[in-house]
């Protein structure tokens, strides 16, 4: 609307007002995230003398960010609780793994297939989206708890299928030696590689964490732009209308069946995306990587970050990833070091370290409980959640006041 106004009236020329831009929280968060994303590998590699362990950790975190963005479409926008989201992730990963490794040679097909990563990432996306629609179809009449149970079942079935169809998928032996992405030929000119005109290094992904890092940052940026576009569109409003009141939405002419199916399949397509990336990055997929815990972790990331807020779920995913894969595993070592520096004997230090190792999950749980107590609306909530909670709090206060009057 603003653009329309400026296009029609020539009077106030639109200037880029930095201060106003920053006041817009979303823009500020995205800018910070982008700056951190660019600076992180440079600073980290420099400070670690070329070590890239942290960068490869960050690429894993990136897959979770992609997953959280996708699940947010289903849970945050359309209000459909999905507890089996890892299933689509698995489907995306296996789609790439099967068509870009030697696996199909030992299958009844007897012929290995190697399709280019850049094609397969979109194929994986569409396959996951198709399965999203397939899952969505029987669950359309379900709501809330019932829907959650059915999606939970789907999430349990899919890894089992990958276990049991072992002549195709390798079952428990997993699929290894998955092809690495290569940049397309038009980017691999004489300026790359070892030739005389070499300007940059060869664009080879061969387990180079930095290349994968750049790729995931680009994928996330793409996902954010696309989901943001959807959020502010006809479809995004229809999702929210269904979340708010399905009957009224239908009476306003929204086809609730197709709209919900779209939520499921668009949500699933992002995890297909993430799955293909993950398979290429780790070069090994096993059904064990896609169990219920993954679905729950992604859901916690979405809730923790702020349901319905895109920037929120990104921050939520990064925070939780840091807690689960960095803070908690590193805790015993850090505790021992700390005990050493304050002068406790080795025996005591080791005992404390043992205790923290055993209490890992309790500490994780406590951190979650604390975060939810301190910020029940999520780290960066959408305006909606903020209002809902405020409203609930006001109602509680009113009820309390009423009670005290009666008493």
């Amino acid at each position: 609307m603003n653009q329309a106004a400026t296009a029609k009236s020539p009077s106030p020329p639109r200037r880029f007002n930095l201060r106003e831009r920053i006041r817009d929280r979303e823009t500020a968060v995205y800018s910070i995230l982008l700056i951190v994303a660019i600076l992180f590998p440079i600073v980290d590699i420099y400070s670690n003398d070329g070590g890239t362990a942290d960068v490869s950790q960050a690429t894993r975190a990136g897959t979770f960010v992609l997953l959280a963005i996708g699940l947010n479409v289903v849970v945050g926008f359309a209000g459909l609780l999905d507890l089996g989201y890892a299933a689509f992730y698995a489907i995306g990963a296996y789609t790439y793994a099967l068509f870009a490794s030697l696996q199909l040679q030992s299958s009844p097909l007897h012929h290995a297939v190697h399709v280019n990563f850049w094609i397969m990432i979109f194929v994986s996306m569409f396959v996951a989206a198709a399965f999203g629609a397939i899952l969505g179809f029987p669950t359309l009449r379900l709501r809330g708890d019932y829907l959650a149970i059915v999606t939970l079942g789907f999430g349990e079935i899919v890894p089992q299928l990958f276990y049991n169809f072992d002549n195709w998928t390798g079952g428990i032996n997993a699929i290894g030696l998955i092809d690495q992405p290569h940049l397309p030929f038009w980017l691999q000119g004489p300026w790359s590689g070892d030739g005389d005109f070499k300007v940059v290094q060869n664009f080879n992904f061969n387990s180079d964490p930095v290349a994968f890092y750049v790729l995931i940052v680009i994928l996330i940026a793409l996902a954010v732009i696309l989901v943001n576009n959807l959020y502010k569109s006809r479809l995004g409003r229809a999702w929210m209308a269904i979340r708010e009141d399905e009957v009224a939405a239908a009476a306003m002419g929204i086809n609730t069946v197709t709209t919900k199916l779209l939520a499921f399949s668009i949500g699933a397509s992002f995890s297909g995306f993430a799955g293909a990336y993950y398979a290429a990055n780790i070069a090994l997929v096993s059904p064990d990587n896609f169990l219920f815990l993954v679905s729950i972790t992604v859901l916690v990331m979405v809730v923790l970050g702020g349901m319905g807020s895109i920037s929120g779920v990104i921050v939520g995913a990064l925070t939780l990833y840091f807690v689960i894969f960095y803070l908690i595993p590193g805790l015993p070592q850090n505790v021992t070091n700390f005990a050493g520096t304050i002068g406790l004997s080795d025996n005591v230090a080791n005992a404390i370290s043992d205790a923290t190792t055993r209490l890992n999950f309790i500490i994780y749980g406590l951190i979650l409980v604390l975060m939810m107590l301190l910020r029940p609306q999520g780290i960066l909530p959408s305006r909606v959640r903020e209002q809902e909670l405020k409203h609930a709090a006001v109602q509680e206060d009113e009820a309390a006041v009423e009670m005290s009057h009666q008493g």
């Binding site: 479809l235 229809a238 929210m240 209308a241 708010e244 009224a248 239908a250 009476a251 002419g253 929204i254």
Partner: protein, 259 residues
Amino acid sequence: MSQAAADNILELTSLTKRFGGLVAVDNVTFNIKRGEVFALIGPNGAGKTTLFNNVTGLYTPTAGRVVFDGRDITGSKPHQVARRGIARTFQNIRLFDYMSCLDNVRVGRHVRMKAKVWDSLFKLPRERREEERVTEEAMELLRFVGIQRQANQYARNLPYGQQRRLEIARALATDPKLLLLDEPAAGFTPQEKVELMALVRKILARGTTVFLIEHDMKVVMGISERIVVLDHGEKIAEGPPDEVRKDARVIEAYLGKSA
């Protein structure tokens, strides 16, 4: 199609809805003419809202036919009915609470929009233009019902009377030929009732036929041209307000209690 049929925007023929042993709407037949204000009245539990739900596709009639604008819509889905051109409001307001007023009305516009997933995903120029147009139209409707200043507030933060108005604006956004209002004046002050009647006349002037359920006799008698009275799911009277008011069965069933 005969001339009479073409004049009718909605024709209900022996419409019946049973819930188990309960007959909520019993063999009801009447026609609504294009461009009139038609009222449906009756005591509580007479089956008025059930009849609305049968027309708008929330329920499927057990028997009988619903013909809208010359087309049989019996058993259509709610969104198909909305697309054909019937919009409604609800007895207990059903807004999208945590969406802005503007967005509520823009959701109403959904059914007249063309943007597909791809258009929205990549923000193609035609999608942008459509969004701009729809925003303008939605603002226009908010002005029409007089709540344009609340455009960016959440629907649930509006006072009760404005919520009723917003619901009407949202319904009008679907470009209806027939607007169903379910007790639009419930809980209104006399002043608000007068304003509502003025609004209904303005809606009529836009070329939308209005079909309303109302308890308040002043409102019903003041704006409606014809009335149907339901009691226990049966039609007991039909005609202009003056006639219905004098009908012995109506007085017994309904007016007798209040007048």
